[in-house]
Symmetry: C2
Subunit: 393 residues, 2 copies
Amino acid sequence: MCGTKGCLVKCSPFPSATPENGTTDTTLININLDHGDPIMYESYWRKMGNRCDITFNGYESLSYFANGKSLCWFLESKLEDEIKRLHSVVGNAIVDDRYVVVGTGSSQLMQAALYALSPADQPEPISVVSAAPFYSSYPEVTDFVRSGLHKWAGDARNFEKNEPYIEFITSPNNPDGVIRKPVVNRDQGILIHDLAYYWPQYTAITSPANYDVMLFTVSKCTGHAGSRIGWALVRDKEVARKMTKYMEISTIGVSKEAQLRAAKILGVISDSCLDPTLENFFEYCRSLMIDRWQRLRQVVKANDLFTLQKYPLQYCLFTKNFYESHPAFAWLMCKESEEDCEKLLKEHKIQTRSGRKFGSDPRNVRISMLSKDEDFNIFLRRLAAIGGLTNGN
Amino acid sequence: MCGTKGCLVKCSPFPSATPENGTTDTTLININLDHGDPIMYESYWRKMGNRCDITFNGYESLSYFANGKSLCWFLESKLEDEIKRLHSVVGNAIVDDRYVVVGTGSSQLMQAALYALSPADQPEPISVVSAAPFYSSYPEVTDFVRSGLHKWAGDARNFEKNEPYIEFITSPNNPDGVIRKPVVNRDQGILIHDLAYYWPQYTAITSPANYDVMLFTVSKCTGHAGSRIGWALVRDKEVARKMTKYMEISTIGVSKEAQLRAAKILGVISDSCLDPTLENFFEYCRSLMIDRWQRLRQVVKANDLFTLQKYPLQYCLFTKNFYESHPAFAWLMCKESEEDCEKLLKEHKIQTRSGRKFGSDPRNVRISMLSKDEDFNIFLRRLAAIGGLTNGN
């Protein structure tokens, strides 16, 4: 019977996996693919040995202030240099004549951008929109302290008001991996480009991004989510200054240890792209993503219960090849129109995030593609088993 | 003539200092004592050699999640352990049956506490007060995004409304170093105790603090302001959960590198208090503070233009001795009632923070006592020179 150990073993091409506790009975383990925790990249960093080691002694980095001359007074100059170098190596964003603002992850930078871009002299908060399915944190980040500066106004496609607005454009999009453009396209629109996933392991780099406010994060680029380092590339000096002010009031800057370690790691990634004796970080991670996506598509095709988002082939300037997106999340849809996909998967001990949270349909779920190998393998076997169970039990 | 190099050299007991640029002409250097940047402790950490060294390799701390079982899901268990251990060693706060919530400095924890303690079901924001002179960041932190949850309502002594309120109690107080109790003392009051300076280098530890919400920060305890690590000790589980939620939405946790380094440093401080072969951190820093305060009081007494806050002798349970407070900031007042003290000092290239910013009088300024030796020495010489100038030039 499917869903039993016997079935799991037969269900090739899913490599057999032994749970951490040493038993082969995986039926009790809850697999959490709700968060996009990027621990998959650990294998790369292990291969790099001590190349990324960084040591802090007790008397370093005492001051609130950083050593640089940046407008962002707490930004370590090493980090600024390595951010600019990596963008130049990858070719995914214009860095010339941009101000770099560092944040405690890109979440803080979203709030800093909202703070900087919201009109300060208006009695009513500015509307904040994003096209559904939108990143599930945007409504929460916009509204959680009931700010009088900005308020969440939902799906950008339904925004009809003739008034100023802020639009988040996430490209590739979280949750569905689609390449996006602004959708409101009206006067008085202020745009924030969230480019967390615009890296070669996920998608083709088709041109260097060239927008007013661009957000990036170490978490999704390198896999070091625990460091909480994000950055913004900002065209306008006054906007960069206000974003820096936000960071100053909310956290008086950003951890120096995290900044200096991030600088080291970004540096190693740039080196790995330039030095043929090193394993190219993006090539390595791209191979992992391609492998996972191929296996997922096989299972989805076989059980006929679900569909997955499709992506076009695009020419990647970084890899010099045609490449289909292999996003950090799978956006899975139940074919059955009445189905609650999150609930269905939960019954099979697969924890995902419902389409509802992205302003979309409960037929959809977002599934992290960046989990540990073991969890990913169990997930695939269970997904296959759902097909078996539904067809025959 | 006072204010010249000749005078500066004569103005003993101020050790002569050579500015970093190698010149002895200090007249052009602007001395910034506005921020409480605690770089004074660097000498202690240098003495500790490599005892605080911590190395991160590339594959550590990738996950958003920490390794502990804390309600605060991103809190590293090593940090939780060392926080509790240090409080037990020093005796400055009750840790039993308290939840530890870690923040990106205590500024973020102030906001988290406001978020957690503000009623979520009220149409009007709750009033937030603190007795003047109050920490200059409270109004800004409360109001900067125009929250509908809470609003700054000024000096707690003037709060007359018969409605719920939140009161910040800073003890020892920033800016004036005074030991404080709540001042409103009415029903429906919610208290946040900001105990950033309740450490033995600044004040006598008279009893372990035992309040509902207590805020601490590494910056003022150890001097590692660049790490941006603070923590809250919280009695109520639901409040701790909401504070954790705030941190989750605003920054998805707190840098793991900063947490682990802070754990290491707090551990070394506890060791230094327990192991007689090590130099006791608090004793060392207390000596520095006593020396600076004695020298400052000498200058102030000599020039007859200013007065300083006085502090009572109190028995310290940690040092087992009577001790007068030697706060992290001096709260200096011009005797002349019309004088703008910040302006006066600025003319002498001493940058301080006006009493106005603390809800108080422009006759007062707050002056950091934690600067580099060199800056402190220049400050004292200039302060002495003001007396000379005013009396004779």
